[in-house]
Symmetry: D2
Amino acid sequence: MKAIVKAGPGRGFELTEVPRPEIGVRDALIRVRAAGICGTDVHIYQWDAWSAGRIKPPVVGGHEFVGVVEAVGRDVVHIKPGTRVSGEGHITCGHCRFCRTGRGHICRDVKIIGIDRDGCFAEYLSMPADNLWPVPDEISDRHAAVFDPLGNAMHSVTSTEVSGRSVLVIGAGAVGLFATAIARASGAARVLVSEPNAMKRDIALQVGADMVFDPFDAVVEGPIMDATESLGPEVVMEMSGATEGLKDAFKLVQNGGDVVLLGLPPDKVAVDWSHDIIFKGITIHAVSGRRMFDTWYRSQRFLLSGRMDIDPILTHDIAMEDFETGFQALLAGEAVKVTIRV
Amino acid sequence: MKAIVKAGPGRGFELTEVPRPEIGVRDALIRVRAAGICGTDVHIYQWDAWSAGRIKPPVVGGHEFVGVVEAVGRDVVHIKPGTRVSGEGHITCGHCRFCRTGRGHICRDVKIIGIDRDGCFAEYLSMPADNLWPVPDEISDRHAAVFDPLGNAMHSVTSTEVSGRSVLVIGAGAVGLFATAIARASGAARVLVSEPNAMKRDIALQVGADMVFDPFDAVVEGPIMDATESLGPEVVMEMSGATEGLKDAFKLVQNGGDVVLLGLPPDKVAVDWSHDIIFKGITIHAVSGRRMFDTWYRSQRFLLSGRMDIDPILTHDIAMEDFETGFQALLAGEAVKVTIRV
Amino acid sequence: MKAIVKAGPGRGFELTEVPRPEIGVRDALIRVRAAGICGTDVHIYQWDAWSAGRIKPPVVGGHEFVGVVEAVGRDVVHIKPGTRVSGEGHITCGHCRFCRTGRGHICRDVKIIGIDRDGCFAEYLSMPADNLWPVPDEISDRHAAVFDPLGNAMHSVTSTEVSGRSVLVIGAGAVGLFATAIARASGAARVLVSEPNAMKRDIALQVGADMVFDPFDAVVEGPIMDATESLGPEVVMEMSGATEGLKDAFKLVQNGGDVVLLGLPPDKVAVDWSHDIIFKGITIHAVSGRRMFDTWYRSQRFLLSGRMDIDPILTHDIAMEDFETGFQALLAGEAVKVTIRV
Amino acid sequence: MKAIVKAGPGRGFELTEVPRPEIGVRDALIRVRAAGICGTDVHIYQWDAWSAGRIKPPVVGGHEFVGVVEAVGRDVVHIKPGTRVSGEGHITCGHCRFCRTGRGHICRDVKIIGIDRDGCFAEYLSMPADNLWPVPDEISDRHAAVFDPLGNAMHSVTSTEVSGRSVLVIGAGAVGLFATAIARASGAARVLVSEPNAMKRDIALQVGADMVFDPFDAVVEGPIMDATESLGPEVVMEMSGATEGLKDAFKLVQNGGDVVLLGLPPDKVAVDWSHDIIFKGITIHAVSGRRMFDTWYRSQRFLLSGRMDIDPILTHDIAMEDFETGFQALLAGEAVKVTIRV
């Protein structure tokens, strides 16, 4: 079958032929129809320090997808061939303390498709049937293909309370923009977005931001204070992973407010714990992965309800053969979410 | 001054002349501009058992209002004459355990304007300055006059989580309809409203309900289950105070769901605690009054954000002299929220 | 093998020979060492209306146990023969919305051992390996045999906050007494227990109650108010399932307090929703089963920490042949928790 | 009257005569009986950078106290001369968003006695009557004098859940030790304390720690992991304000756990946000001051219940004339909590 593979150490992916994957007794084989490119895939493409330390090539890339179940293992009874599905790419151990208490998203022994085992940038994907998410007909393939990052955004927004409160999203990548749309549709009194890329700021406005800011503009703090009764936003979602984004989050958040952290800073970051965190009496919520499967249920309902429009975030739709174009657009900051037709 | 007064035991109010109220050192005198008629005022009009037991006539009615501060007592420094204000009608003792822990809404020694002391159906109102709520110019008098019931609805909706969840509102009176609008604007995946009055069902649809039901229709349960994945709504808000409404709330709510209780049943009601409550593992949130002043901040932001349209709920606007018309419209089920121009 | 079996409709159990159970690919076979008799088993013994409607004889009774794994099915990898285990008797479907969101305790399609399938009153028990709970050596067989009801109590106490608050436990059966011990060890400022049986009141004092009351005593309310600053207890745990217990819970609880419901009233119960629930602004937590496996982890740590002494609650330890004695002692109110040596 | 005064910039305090304070219409005059020396007072004694930036000498020191009301202002009705009281030293503005929503502990315009206005190291103290806390006879003067730091500890412990969970307290100063005692009495499954001072580690064991560690010992992480099922503690309370304490908090905390921050690091501290915070999915609770007056109620009940013994923490009791001895003992690490008899 065709697959986009990290063939060995170093930059890039390659489109090549690999054997169709096998399935175990509790697995399903999925004929992939569409896949999304995540920022993580871009890191792997670039072969940064994190990738070099974690990935053991060769491995098929990708963890965001929609497809159709082609076959299931002997012990799979609750899902049938022919079902259209997306799936949770975190394969949890099922037996650690976290898995046994409904917190698989922080499983200590997780394996992620496209990272620790073969992923979905391929015609076929094998994964445990329990990780699959049947998709209603009303949801398009492109929407179903991004259930995973939409779930990260949902996990972030629902980790605190936004209704009737002011929200600042720092970083308008795909997850930041999904979070913007969800926060707006969840009753945030005012949604502010800070993002240096003008195109992304424009998309933020399309999906629900009330105001957008360029963090490199010298006069950001004043307008943000003006927009938040001089108290700062009650909720700040750090989605950029940038050092300055993290510092701004704590500097700007209102006393007693909430900071949600999803972006991953590459290095250690020093902040003023006493003045920006402790005296303010804030709460910080670190978000990793998606709560299984609570965030999936909620994301699906948002998609079905038509309460929000995520289409402006899905900037590119390309054929598998053109995957290089997708990565280049992402690297150039010209794309937000690229989906691949398989 | 002119005032609408409960002059003595028995049905009705009367418009009459009474002395302008005095103010104490920590009070403010407010020139009332508009007032809302609450269901409680209708009970007092009717002189039901509750009213007869609590009200000591003569008393000026009304507790929902907007006006302008005319004068303040000697010790009032933070609010100035000329400020347009609404106000929290619950005058709390300030010294009980509940007041001392930020829970004045359940103060054991509360006095309510229009019930336990003179209210706002008058040209002038005297109340503690700490209870006042300055109103921004962007909010109209009619909206400011209903901050109180809007706050009850806000308190109800924020007592649980609605974003991405299905919500059933039982009873589309003013508070039920405000709750409908707030739940929809707060990201409820689906908002269902059950109400026997066709006009009110129509308003529910205007302010955000996805579906409406007549509870006297024989086939209600089926459509509600159809609309909620056969599991029942995750959140039920009982706003009717009707015996059957309360029973339906527990019968319909989903396993693990939340029931919010605001409507006041006149009598004891028997329910099936084992099957409808305990086995389901639900949580029940009893809501009384407004959290001071958290719900006021949130309500104000919802009004300012334009995220919801409450105008269809404000069905009647009448002159003080026509107050009888307003009560009759409410008693006939032809009005939802009546505001009085003072 | 020997087993205590509900052989057919009608009162009683019988000790008889039945075939050793089979195991499926994901099951384990456990050689039972001790089992606890639950109030539910007593209902089944009595063949009350609930039992007659749910139980399909013949069925081996019992769901509280400790034993040693004798064999495991082909697909079981994380648990080995020879491991001493207790186990969660609720076999959940694994695929409903509740199971998929970490809330298996409210699974809509649960099967319970000893009720819906053969239980642990037998030499051997077959159940899914995922339901097993390995028991550390430091925990005795008798303590391990009652993990299940201890977990109900833990679920109840942790469904609200007790540290520094006053707690009233209504009903000192096994779960009520476990809850008394846990609440005391969790920092409850004052633990009150209401129970008509004098022996059980005495045990309540032994395991941590500060004061005990007989609910049939005419002057109960006064002393409870005296013990709670005239405000009533902040937390009430209804563990009796008695109609009057439920009424008292709402009548006595403090404004803004929490009522935890675990006892199952046999019939509908009418309460004064307006005065005892809604005006008070309380929260009601309905508790069913045990949160898997959060309550198991916590219960285990309480047992290991030695923070509480549950031995006074384990009143009887009998041989399998003497099971009738155990049921009679429970029916006579002379026993609290009876364990059976198998 | 006699008072311990910061007379001007520079090191030290001096015992001198100053005029007895005046009271306003809503104030009370308190005849102080005992006062506690806080770490903050030591910072002011040392005249560190923070003190030099904030304190405007001359100012009477001290904010922890017990005394008897001698006189009250004209508008004070709920507290009478002769009442024994402690008091909340944070004088809040009463009108900001935080004060109006029951969160006075993060008031933006707070004035603290002994810092921003005259404090309690004096024979007489004037402060708003609403800040006073009447003390029951059963509580001794020395215990009543430390309600303030006990409240910080209570605020910290109740900001998350400790019952049945493992807790690590970093830093065994007075607040760390109070937190140790409260956590143990609140059902923490295991309480670990990390502290370099051997005397303080010994007191930690006396007040409820199960194990103590010296953070400068090379092999600390291993034993902490051994004591926490190799997962790290579920709750870490950082009470030291040390740079390494903060780093250890995040490094050691269990996935999905809670970190409570109360100690104030003097400088910015860099941590590994990605690995130690975000991937772990933890929650961080920043704690400032005491929740008014919820933490006071709880602290009082803990003292009255006899559930914990805080006497080992109150290491020194000195006369006002010997205040220098107290500060020297604190600076030398030979004292934990010093109370001054006035």
